[in-house]
């Protein structure tokens, strides 16, 4: 929570409606996302109860487990879901494009589009992860055989859940998370976890304030919880008798009634997000998602093992390092794309905005062997400058050009510029900021950061348990109880 967001929340209270905290959209939105609303049975170990799933608002498909404690019916549910999800995933394995990888030393193919799953909330992502865990090790032959689609579903669900941890990925997105990134409501983040209440603040019905709409949204009779947990009163008064009655149509109606309001909310959220213009770097991050998707399609086709239950030491360290780099890059990209996000860094002193008051575009640095073009500009800052000489800053308006702070006196900052001006000793017109130009400079960088070096799996040091044993699929995994 930054002070700007906190202030936006305060303003939302006064205005009676949520306030924007982003000027552009920072998540990718597919033209045909798969909306997935799972429900699980209370108390059980992640037993699926029902789901509403589909990639268009008009055609939700209802999946129900008539006796949630019946193992075969659970796998039946998994097989039906697999049919829907795997064929959705497969539908993106068509057209590819050729892209340069390894810093231009190689090329590879990448699918031009990729699947995107939208769930209502963080609990939905948790459901995807655990349902993936409970299905991906199953065997399709022998004693505990399940439908061949079930383990494949498990691997895809696990892939999506792992992608969801990756900062900036849009492959598996929670609607509350996506909306909360773009709007600040006049309630707490605890209450924002309720999708109906969050949307009540963002787009209250005519004649109602956000607070009134949110209050109404908390009534589980009017707006049933968006899952995966169900309303206990519903469980006791509707669900239990419906399961007991043995009538599938009664049960389906009861569950459809619980799920349909959330279905509507999900698509309302989609339209709200679509109405925002996409940030210019969203496409770049989606390209990473498409790359990860392509890679996993290939891995599955080559017969790779399902994802491990726990990462081994080297893989865990690599993954953590990767996530940290992705987080830093994602933070920088959002700030570069969005002045409102950048303003948070101005507030904390990691960025300053101002106008150019002096510029010497032809300045040469002759101190080295070769003379080089190093223009100086003076920026008169509107913000308190908390950065000192020697610090390198970049302006989102000119991301290829770096500025090194030469001196700071009062609100005037002198920068020495390098990059983005061609190879000659005179700067091409427009490549150096001119007097009067308004710019923001920040220490955030989106330039390439080399990955840290890790030992190979076989060289895992003894401090980390030594080289791990090879994974061998065993009967225990395939036969794992699910009760």
């Amino acid at each position: 929570m930054s002070a700007l967001t906190a202030l936006a929340r305060a303003s939302a209270v006064q205005a009676g409606v949520a306030q924007p905290i982003a000027t552009v959209r920072h998540v990718h939105l597919s033209s045909r996302p798969l909306v997935f609303i799972p429900l699980s049975l209370a108390g059980e170990a992640h037993a699926p109860l029902a789901a509403l799933v589909g990639s268009s608002v008009e055609s939700p498909q209802l999946l129900v487990v008539p006796q949630p404690r019946n193992r075969d019916q659970r796998f039946g549910f998994a097989a039906t879901l697999a049919e829907i999800l795997v064929s959705y995933v497969d539908s993106f394995c068509g057209e590819t494009e050729t892209v340069a990888v390894d810093r231009g030393r190689d090329v590879r193919e990448r699918y031009v589009d990729a699947p995107q799953i939208l769930v209502p909330n963080g609990g939905g992502i948790g459901f995807v992860r655990l349902f993936g865990r409970s299905t991906r090790f199953r065997r399709t032959t022998g004693e505990w055989a399940v439908d061949p689609a079930v383990p494949l579903l498990g691997r895809w669900l696990t892939f999506f859940a792992e992608r969801a941890e990756y900062p900036g990925s849009s492959m598996l997105v929670s609607m509350t998370g996506a909306l909360g990134m773009h709007w600040a409501t006049g309630q707490s983040s605890v209450e924002d976890a309720n999708l109906a209440a969050l949307l009540g603040w963002i787009a209250p019905p005519a004649g109602m304030t956000g607070a009134e709409a949110a209050l109404e949204a908390e009534d589980p009779l009017r707006w049933p919880p968006a899952g995966p947990a169900t309303d206990p009163t519903f469980d006791n008064e509707v669900l239990a008798p419906a399961i007991e009655s043995g009538s599938l149509s009664t049960l389906e109606k009861a569950l459809r009634d619980q799920l349909e309001p959330t279905w509507e909310l999900m698509w309302r959220g989609v339209s709200l997000l679509r109405a925002l213009p996409a940030g210019s770097r969203v496409e770049r991050r989606w390209a990473d998602d498409r790359g990860a998707f392509t890679g996993y399609v290939e891995y599955v086709a080559e017969g790779g093992f399902p994802q491990a239950k726990l990462d081994v030491a080297v893989a865990a360290a690599q993954r953590l390092a990767k996530l940290e780099r992705a987080q830093a890059l994602y933070d920088a990209q959002r700030a570069y794309d969005d002045p409102l996000v950048l303003a948070e860094y101005r507030l904390t002193g990691e960025a300053f905005a101002g106008s150019v008051v002096a510029s010497s575009p032809d300045r040469l640095d002759a101190s080295g062997k070769k003379r080089v073009l190093r223009p100086h500009i003076t920026v008169r800052s509107d913000d308190p400058v908390r950065l000192g000489p020697g610090v390198t800053v970049v302006s989102p308006a000119r991301p290829a050009q770096k500025g090194r702070i030469v001196s700071v006196s009062g609100s005037d900052v002198v920068l020495e510029l390098s990059g983005g001006m061609g190879r000659g000793l005179t700067a091409p017109p427009g490549s150096v900021p001119e007097v009067g130009e308004r710019l923001t400079y920040t220490t955030l960088t989106e330039s390439y950061q080399a990955p840290a070096a890790f030992p190979s799996r076989d060289e895992t040091p003894w401090t980390h348990g030594g080289p791990p044993a090879e994974y061998v699929p065993d009967n225990e995994d395939a036969a794992e109880e699910w009760s």
């Binding site: 930054s2 309630q187 605890v190 206990p232 469980d235 507030l347």
Partner: protein
């Protein structure tokens, strides 16, 4: 009639349990909850009556599963639990004996019998039990005795006691939901503390009770139990500190108006006769410290939230802090726009708010 009885009125007091004590320590600054709980007032009933019902239903599916899991563990004299505990605590087999204390109906008798058995075990007497099922412990909370009922207490050779807590949430690949584990650990810490005090009163070393509690949960997606040792030292120190602070409940009650009561004054058919507005006024006399976390912990939370509208605290602790600790939304916004002049101790917060408002205004038109 004590002042607490007067506050509650002519009904049976609602008893504390480990869960309510844990919740109490989550927000120790809230006098309202402290007084309500100390007086044994049925907060849930009160909240419903004044139009802010709590929403803490429990699904029958969850209850059934929880009971089935505990029954499975305790079947045949705790056969399955013993197997688990032998592995987790390295209990030697010959030590196994089992005392079921749940069957005693009288609270006092049960507490006395529990005390007798547990102190006998502590003194290392021959033939003292190994497993004590649902013993009844007592803990002083805010000057009142509260009865507590741990699922099980196990005694290992060498005289260490372990509190065993049975929960029905799953541990998957060695990991479980952090909030649930934390809540279970806090509850267990309450039992550890009560047991330690019991032993100390009987002249034994309180540290005979381990700070490691045994959490027994279903493993992965099965009904197979798995035992995990959880260190509750941190929870214990928080708990002890909060409980010592709560000793001041009497002082809070003293400061209340002598005719204040939350007695619903039900008529012969149980329908409350006291006007709701009177109760709301009464609640207003006892300070609450609302935070959004209360919604998950306290039956009165919806009322307190309504009352706290317009405060920065109702937006969450971090929002309040980011707004420089200014307590009201209106004041924060006035300081941000410059229409209110800050008190000397608000200068810094006001400057930051003005700057933030300027930045937002520059970008959001």
């Amino acid at each position: 009639m004590t002042s607490l009885d007067r506050l509650r009125g002519d009904v049976q007091p609602k008893n504390h349990n480990a869960r309510t004590i844990a919740a109490l320590t989550a927000n120790p600054g809230c006098s309202r909850r402290a007084v309500m709980d100390a007086a044994g007032i049925d907060k849930s009933r009160l909240a419903s009556y004044i139009g802010f019902p709590a929403r803490f239903g429990q699904s029958q599916f969850a209850i059934t599963r929880g009971n089935a899991f505990e029954a499975q563990l305790k079947a045949n004299g705790c056969a399955e639990l013993l197997r688990l505990l032998r592995e987790a605590l390295k209990l030697p087999i010959e030590e196994a004996s089992y005392d079921d204390l749940e069957s005693l109906e009288q609270m006092d008798a049960r507490a006395a019998r529990s005390r007798q058995l547990l102190t006998r075990a502590a003194s290392g007497e021959e033939g003292a039990g190994t497993l004590f099922d649902h013993p009844l412990l007592r803990l002083e909370v805010g000057g009142r005795w509260v009865y507590l009922e741990p699922d099980l207490v196990a005694l290992r050779t060498g005289g260490k006691f372990y509190v065993v807590e049975i929960k029905s949430f799953a541990v998957i690949d060695g990991q479980a939901d952090g909030t649930k584990v934390s809540a279970a650990a806090t509850q267990s810490a309450v039992y550890v503390l009560a047991l330690r005090r019991l032993l100390a009163e009987a002249g034994h070393d309180p540290l005979l009770v381990s700070h490691d509690v045994v959490l027994v949960c279903p493993e992965n997606f099965s009904n197979r139990p798995v035992a995990t040792l959880v260190d509750v030292r941190k929870k214990l120190s928080v708990l002890e500190r909060q409980l010592s602070r709560m000793a001041r409940i009497d002082a809070i009650v003293e400061s209340l108006s002598p005719d204040l009561t939350f007695d619903l004054a039900p008529d012969s058919s149980g329908v409350p006769q006291r006007p709701a507005s009177e109760l709301v006024d009464g609640l207003g006399q006892v300070d609450a410290r609302y935070s959004p976390e209360c919604l998950a912990n306290c039956e009165l939370a919806f009322f307190c939230r309504h009352e706290a509208r317009g405060t920065t605290a109702s937006l969450g602790k971090s929002v309040r802090e980011e707004l420089g600790g200014v307590s009201s939304v209106e004041l924060a916004l006035s300081l941000a726009s410059g229409s209110a002049s800050p008190e000397p101790d608000q200068e810094e917060a006001a400057a930051m708010l003005r700057y933030a408002a300027k930045l937002r205004a520059e970008i959001v038109s």
